[in-house]
């Protein structure tokens, strides 16, 4: 990307390339971040629609679904989804949400947008590779969407596509659908790896003078550690999925018992990736929450260094807990005990972070803005999700609750209550920087309130269902006599889920309306200390006129003796007032 035309001071240069080069095949990290934003919000919608299908069937089994008549008869006879279609919905809901919604929202959007700005760099280390990282998501997403519509149907093996269900097309009838899933995920893996190489190299090598490691904002730390997790874990998924694909296409038997293969090996390989994956899904959320909470409480983060070490601890431990997803697989009990211990231990650094967020807010001057509300919700919902996790960490307890709705409750408390609320916090917070217009605060609060209420009404009762013995992924709970008394809970959850989905329309409307006719935002509407708030909204190509110098840590709020209650990192600390410190 060479600059033609007049040169502006410092790093900035006039970008007079065509529209396509500037906004479509862009190498500017900010444009790429925004591209990821729209891509992943689209897939969030897809995942949500699939969830609506699931909830309709669970709440009203056997009843024709609204708009169900539009589906082909083979998929939904008489508008009622078939059992095979149902399990396909479950599979694809998980797949789209994890790989195409939450991961790109947290990493694709915020790593790309924030890292260069927050460390004082003009762009990523490898801008063209970055562009490829986004554009690989397109074929990946298209292949995955295509798998919904092919002959034989979509994958029906859960988002974890366990063998031998996933590689027995003669049994499931799913041929192409599962193959497309595999191809899509391999391409996704390539996209993820290219991105991660960029994030890691950029954070290590492109920091501005004075931006030492322990002055990095926690969002950057979190995204950096997440990228390290991805580099180490995603390739293992790629290898495992390739072997699964070969089982389906070229006659190998890696995971097929008939040919001497080992289905359990699939589980080990998948979860060796899968557990670091869930930390990939939560760490950036924790980083965003830290930035927003410090800002909203007008206080430095409590225990900054321990926050960093806790994230490093979580990342490291995250590699030695994978077996806790397999407690019911018949695995070696000694191995299971080892995993039990490591899993219980990993609660400790997570708890440290929770206490630090609380400590940050304690006696702060809390401003209940939309981002702050979402961030506080993140902390409280993450606590609940984390607590349920401790139950599952204990092998004997997990024997009872594995594969039940208790797990589904946990997953959604950490992924929606955790990650998604943090995503919302991040979007509301950085939207003005990205687009030069601020999302409407009132609509934001309405969206938050509705989402928070209906989210809890949807997912909390799942703990009860799970403990009552309702299994995951089943088509019709009323078939089981012992589950019938709990069916009203299912109905309640489904209705709440429909309301939750509709509540997101407020968010969508806010975005559309603001982009169309929102008023221009201030350069630093949240009065934050980060470097990104020292440049115009949106920042120009090249970000900074001259490379900034960083003088202090990222959370210098309410510093005694300062003129304002926040100090941008590129301004020196005020002299210590007489008699203080």
């Amino acid at each position: 990307m060479t600059a033609a035309g007049t040169a502006l001071p410092g790093h900035l240069h006039v970008d007079d390339r065509s529209f396509v080069r500037k906004y479509v095949f862009s190498t500017d990290h900010k444009i790429i971040g925004i591209q990821f934003l729209f891509l992943s919000l689209f897939f969030l919608l897809v995942g949500g629609l699939l969830a609506m299908g699931i909830r309709w069937q669970l709440g009203f089994p056997g009843q024709p679904m609204p708009l169900g008549g539009w589906l082909p008869e083979g998929v939904a006879p008489g508008g009622v989804v078939s059992p095979k279609t149902y399990i396909g919905l479950v599979t694809m809901h998980g797949t789209f949400m994890i790989f195409f919604a939450v991961m790109p929202l947290l990493v694709g959007v915020f790593a790309n947008y924030l890292i260069p700005l927050k460390i004082g760099a003009p762009d990523m280390a490898f801008p063209r590779l970055n562009m490829w990282s986004f554009w690989l998501m397109i074929p990946s997403g298209l292949l995955m969407l295509a798998s919904l519509f092919v002959l034989g149907g979509m994958s029906v093996a859960g988002w974890t596509v366990y063998a031998p269900l996933s590689n027995s097309p003669d049994y499931t009838g799913v041929h192409l659908g599962q193959q497309l899933w595999c191809l899509s995920i391999v391409i996704f893996g390539a996209s993820s790896l290219l991105g991660s190489v960029n994030y890691i190299t950029t954070v290590i090598n492109l920091r501005a003078p004075g931006m030492t490691w322990f002055r990095l904002p926690l969002s950057v730390w979190a995204l950096f550690i997440t990228a390290v997790l991805a580099i180490l874990a995603v390739p293992v998924l790629a290898g495992a999925v390739i072997m699964l694909f070969f089982d389906q296409t070229i006659g190998t038997h890696f995971y097929l018992p008939a040919g001497g293969g080992q289905p359990l090996m699939w589980q080990h390989l998948f979860w060796f990736f899968g557990h670091p994956e869930v930390y990939i899904l939560i760490l950036p959320a924790m980083g965003i929450a830290s930035d927003v909470i410090a800002n909203g409480a007008r206080k430095p983060i409590f225990g900054y260094a321990s926050m960093v070490w806790a994230m490093i601890g979580i990342a490291f431990l995250g590699f030695i807990v994978w077996g806790h997803h397999m407690f019911q697989s018949g695995m070696n009990p000694t191995l299971a005990s080892a995993f039990m211990v490591s899993t219980i231990v990993i609660a400790v650094p997570s708890a440290i972070k929770v206490f630090n967020w609380l400590g940050t807010m304690w006696r702060g001057s809390i401003h209940f803005t939309t981002p702050m509300l979402n961030a506080i919700a993140f902390v409280s919902m993450f606590i609940i999700g984390g607590l349920s996790g401790i139950f599952m960490a204990s092998t004997p307890v997990d024997m009872y609750i594995h594969g039940t709705y208790f797990i589904v409750a946990h997953i959604h408390y950490v992924l929606f209550g955790g990650s998604l609320f943090a995503v919302y916090a991040g979007i509301y917070f950085w939207f003005p920087k990205m687009f030069g217009k601020q999302l409407d605060e009132r609509l934001g609060k309405v969206h938050f309130a509705l989402t928070f209420v209906f989210y809890n009404l949807t997912f909390f009762p799942m703990h009860i269902l799970g403990l009552g013995g309702e299994m995951r992924r089943i088509y019709d709970p009323t078939v089981y006599e012992y589950l019938r008394p709990m069916q009203p809970i299912n109905v309640f959850i489904s209705v709440s889920a429909f309301a939750l989905f509709l509540a997101q329309l407020v968010f969508a409307w806010n975005i559309v309306r603001t982009l169309a006719r929102g008023k221009k935002a201030d350069i630093n509407p949240w009065r934050d200390c980060g470097l990104e708030w020292t440049v115009p909204s949106p920042p120009p190509h090249g970000n900074f006129e001259t490379t900034p110098t960083v003088y202090h840590g990222p959370y210098e709020f309410s510093v005694p003796g300062a003129a304002q209650d926040y100090l941008p990192v590129n301004q020196p600390l005020p002299p210590v007032p007489e008699g203080r410190r």
Binding site: I200, P209, T212, I231, T252, H253, G259, G260, G261
Partner: protein, 202 residues
């Protein structure tokens, strides 16, 4: 950099506090290679697990595979690593003629390796040894196939680099790209050293 930063010896970028101390392109390649280590770990690890963890029936590799030919091929790949290292040394000295010569040698070495592998595959398939031929067939073709794919990508990249070298893109001290691709090339050689031993010999 601001006067303040200069006065306090604050530096950024590649010399920033706590940076790794290597230039960005090289660091990026190493990070990528770390991910490749994990990828081959999944494949080679599966081989190890299936062969020695599950008690499955497994033929002696040397009864199926051609050890002598592959040993020579291994040597050829090692030679191409040497020519790569010589190419880089030439680039550092700004010996453009040497650079071009050694890059061409590397391309030839790599292409030879891939060709011999392809020939070997053909021979094995003719013998009836296929990916579906038990777990050995499955793991053999997957591991060596992906390694061969990586070598092929390396050869193609090396051709592109050679063309650029002929256009003088690495003259006058701009030899960073040679080092970067060299790292990828040596890595591919390193993986083969492991693969040859574990799959063909043990």
């Amino acid at each position: 950099m601001t006067a303040h930063a200069a006065a306090h010896g604050m530096v950024g970028g590649e010399r920033a506090q706590g940076a790794v101390g290597v230039h960005t392109q090289k660091l990026g390649m190493w990070v990528f290679l770390v991910s490749e280590v994990m990828f081959f770990t999944a494949l080679i690890g599966s081989y190890i697990i299936l062969r020695w963890g599950t008690g499955a029936e497994w033929p002696e590799p040397r009864t199926v595979l051609a050890i002598p030919v592959t040993a020579v091929n291994t040597f050829i790949l090692i030679c191409s690593s040497v020519s790569m290292v010589k190419a880089y040394a030439a680039a550092v000295k700004d010996d453009q003629a040497g650079l071009k010569r050694w890059l061409l040698a590397t391309v030839v070495g790599g292409a030879t390796f891939v060709s011999v592998q392809a020939f070997e595959y053909h021979h094995l398939v003719e013998k009836g040894f296929l990916p579906g031929s038990g777990l050995f067939g499955a793991t053999f073709y997957t591991m060596t196939g992906f390694h061969g794919f990586h070598v092929t990508c390396g050869v193609l990249s090396m051709i592109w680099v050679t063309i650029r070298a002929f256009r003088g893109k690495y003259a006058g001290g701009k030899f960073q790209g040679i080092e970067t691709i060299g790292l990828y090339w040596h890595f591919v050689d390193l993986v083969w050293i492991i693969l040859f031993t574990i799959v063909y010999l043990i």
